[in-house]
Symmetry: D2
Subunit: 339 residues, 4 copies
Amino acid sequence: MVNIAVTGYGYWGPNLARNFAQTPGARLAAICDLSEANLAKAKSLYPNTALTTDFDAMIADPGIDAVVIATPVSTHAPLAVKALEAGKHVLVEKPLAESSAEAKRVVDAAKAAGKVLLVDHTFVYMGAVQKVRDLIESGELGDLYFFDSVRVNLGLFQHDVSVIWDLAVHDLSIAGYWLPGVPKAVSCTAAAHVDGLPHDVAYLTLIYDNNLIAHIHVNWLSPIKLRTMLVGGSNKMVVFDDLDPVEKIKVYDRGIVKKEDLVGTNQVPLAYRRTGDIWMPQFDMTEALKVEAQHFVRCITEGEKPRTDGEAALRIVRILEAAEQSMKLNGQAVELKED
Amino acid sequence: MVNIAVTGYGYWGPNLARNFAQTPGARLAAICDLSEANLAKAKSLYPNTALTTDFDAMIADPGIDAVVIATPVSTHAPLAVKALEAGKHVLVEKPLAESSAEAKRVVDAAKAAGKVLLVDHTFVYMGAVQKVRDLIESGELGDLYFFDSVRVNLGLFQHDVSVIWDLAVHDLSIAGYWLPGVPKAVSCTAAAHVDGLPHDVAYLTLIYDNNLIAHIHVNWLSPIKLRTMLVGGSNKMVVFDDLDPVEKIKVYDRGIVKKEDLVGTNQVPLAYRRTGDIWMPQFDMTEALKVEAQHFVRCITEGEKPRTDGEAALRIVRILEAAEQSMKLNGQAVELKED
Amino acid sequence: MVNIAVTGYGYWGPNLARNFAQTPGARLAAICDLSEANLAKAKSLYPNTALTTDFDAMIADPGIDAVVIATPVSTHAPLAVKALEAGKHVLVEKPLAESSAEAKRVVDAAKAAGKVLLVDHTFVYMGAVQKVRDLIESGELGDLYFFDSVRVNLGLFQHDVSVIWDLAVHDLSIAGYWLPGVPKAVSCTAAAHVDGLPHDVAYLTLIYDNNLIAHIHVNWLSPIKLRTMLVGGSNKMVVFDDLDPVEKIKVYDRGIVKKEDLVGTNQVPLAYRRTGDIWMPQFDMTEALKVEAQHFVRCITEGEKPRTDGEAALRIVRILEAAEQSMKLNGQAVELKED
Amino acid sequence: MVNIAVTGYGYWGPNLARNFAQTPGARLAAICDLSEANLAKAKSLYPNTALTTDFDAMIADPGIDAVVIATPVSTHAPLAVKALEAGKHVLVEKPLAESSAEAKRVVDAAKAAGKVLLVDHTFVYMGAVQKVRDLIESGELGDLYFFDSVRVNLGLFQHDVSVIWDLAVHDLSIAGYWLPGVPKAVSCTAAAHVDGLPHDVAYLTLIYDNNLIAHIHVNWLSPIKLRTMLVGGSNKMVVFDDLDPVEKIKVYDRGIVKKEDLVGTNQVPLAYRRTGDIWMPQFDMTEALKVEAQHFVRCITEGEKPRTDGEAALRIVRILEAAEQSMKLNGQAVELKED
């Protein structure tokens, strides 16, 4: 039985608590929040769960195996490091940290402690996202050509973080899960339209090896809501529309084929496959957070490899930092370094 | 009566000839093509039109008032300059020329000759495009925030020109017609996936004054065909879907309003208008080329100002050149200079 | 303060209780259910509400002003009559009763008692349905030509009632609210595809005066879910798509105009308006049940006229009965009589 | 070489002539029309085709093998009978005749002459329609439950024929091609909204054996254009949307399964398959009329069985007649008799 302590019971924490309370092999042992009002809400739902405002005391408790952190971003790193150094496994809200330096500290602390570090990039645990990953892994799409994501709507502006930290972080987690290799550089252009508020429209391009290109369009000012991803491959292509209740994933048996016999002629040496079947595969409809909670428990009890681990989360923070830098350079690509 | 000579009777020329043959106040006086086969096709449709393979002789004929050029791009500039220097009005296929230097020569020749120079950016003559322009001009959208265009499909690769010269040229002509002012810089990222063929996926960002940003996504490798433009304003927003036979233009009464009383508080100082009416205005359905042909004749006979003049066409060529340069600089913005 | 007693706390009752508990001017005074388990659920949410298994005792309580009945259909009429005879106002689940004879008993009891009788045809309280009603009332559509509703999906079969009692009842309540006059006759064809289960596909046609025709297609076996209504008028037409989250109501400025000058010629004496604007008006998004609960309270306290009164509900039951009869007559229209 | 004579060169005849002129194994030998103007148009396109205004002389010519009839409906039967009695194979425009009595005369004449009689129900020759037929034939859908077709738009009224003769004739030809067996009875309700003009809205229900039901909704007064067919089977279901340029055919792996163990319990004895894959198969995109012309020639030269023969066309006329009769009987089903 894994004893879970949730810290931060504001907006997202209750969802995490609810799922761990229902996860076989886990026990919602403790909830920590600085607000008594929040704790009162927790009490009515989880009368047998210990409630506290003292994080340090909570992680000092040897009865606690793992800590779930759903506090403001600025506190992610310090709390995560504390918990890891106290020998707890950690699941932390995304983004892992405000800066790559801090994110790195958490990753190093997890390594040093030999504990599980999972970052809550929830989209990666959606059945539909898993399905597309499986299609790519299986080689059905062939060599990947491009990944194009549009995530726009008339959205709630954030005070402190720009649209890329708010929205693109999701696309980056999905791209990281789907695409082979890691991006070498990122180019970003953006605009801000309200004085004193961060960028509300942004365009990111990620450059990969083998001519793979990924592009992300995020926008808080769109009159319509779009959540669409195109993935083009040498063999097949996928359209993922997260807003379509029925036809989320479409696999197109379309593409081009090089015609060697035409190379060097004055014709374009390509044949086009325009009219293949279209297929809409089914996928697991389980709530993503439930899948994630069960996965976290298995990582602890069965040594399963975290699907959204610290390294992946650190990479996402580095991309966001580099994108901010590229904006200042008017879109000039900024190289991404791994350790 | 304006006597029109069409040169180049291959792919697009016949459409231009057909429209001028039916334009009141115009006479399809001559057709020039180097291919006798093409001329034979013309003969069956226009028995009373002079047919020739000799361009120089044709423009030497004082009976000809205007020359329509639908020949390969590399010949646009030399033929246009010749015709202008021979005192003819000129309508030339897009793009105006292969390079901004050549395009400039044509623009200067038109100025020197005091003749009409119209460039065939056909989209600008679509009733729906005109309707959106009118909405913007009227101020109904308020201050413009962004222009976002997606023009993707499993398209025919070109041998010599990349996807931006093939597709983005259309978006640039529309952006040029809709948006206030001219872009100051362009950033472009792109990828090529077939050895020896040009870029097939590209992303352009145009930077304007007043935080207006324009973005164009063109792609020859998309499994689905999209022709969608979003225009966001401070007051209203427009979605233009050129593939929708009925609901091409949607005007959204949505947006944000700054709440001065919240400025400086820890709340985001904005109110959101999410649920206004949506309106689909009607527009003129006349064939764009017909509108353009009639406009060209009026430019000659009534001194109407060319809607797609040489300056606008030159600007588009400069943007395409700068975009190619930006690609080489990994997306770094390249400044755009006007004369 | 109107003291409300809810009887039947199974599937739908909790929704009614929740809304009345939150309705200004109303008090959720009592809940009655035969199941102690159901009462236990109610207790946790409404600690101050009286709970009982004794309906007769509850309605004998002079402190109760109104009774909300959400019990099985077969018990609607007897319970409603009892409550009305006890001098209570009554809100009863749809359909009002299993037969028109029983429904009539309830309507008569309400008249005799001089109490409010409201039937829970929830759709009529949707903001979008109200909006279309307003458009029709205002005369904007002109004379009504037809009402066509499609309500199909791979639905849960009912044991005892056919697809028309399960689904068409909704369309009939909306048609009754939107259309002028009352239907004179109904024709119905249907089919059953599972031995021992009721009809799963049915087509109803309602005949009105002035050539107004209403048609309803209900189907439990459709692979796709559709909830679409077309209303055609001499001036404008409306499409209501209840599944579209954004574009629920579209008003089309289209139609035909009689050309008197062509009458008697060999041309069809009509002009077609095919290309008018399309308009998507906004509407109140309040939960229908909340609107209905507030309306019920105002009917009691301010004498507002019930929007879904006993007569309308009785008419719907009569149409369903007549439709069942028409099925047996292979679609022959069955006349509908009013008292 | 089959020598084809086309009679009637007005609206549809030119399409038939064009296709036969391009059909291998066929020769467009003659064109007959009473209008010299129409013949002039034909002359410019087919200089080597004999042109005449004398139908009798044309069919007296032993050099003519087959006659294609595209004249007004009232003349279909007499001309077809003449041609058949003259020993010619016949392809006649739909509907085969104005009445079942006349249609029967043509069918009998064809039998007596032992010649090919094909009726131009063009839809049956569409690749997509053929594809669905193949899916049904293969048994992939299982037992058929229902066929539901919607064919509505703001259409051109006809002077003389109602909306069912104008539009439903297409759905009847497709239903006849797709569905097993023949309908036993038809029920029809309809309405007319313009004085002196025929019915503009109609609903037909066809009753088949084994609880198969087919329904057709045709409407000249709809603000939107719909061309959608649902086919439900015990194993799979198909949606055919003729207006969707890309996703015309969707095959849903959905349905219900009887749960024998639940029979007699108070649960509905069904399991629901709601989430199977959706598949959009490709199909032949060849122009239907071209396929039909080639088929007609093969019927003549290779004895292929006519896909849209006289019996099928006669059945359609009988259904239309019975539907008109059912309208007068307020929807009462009218039995359909075969010879």
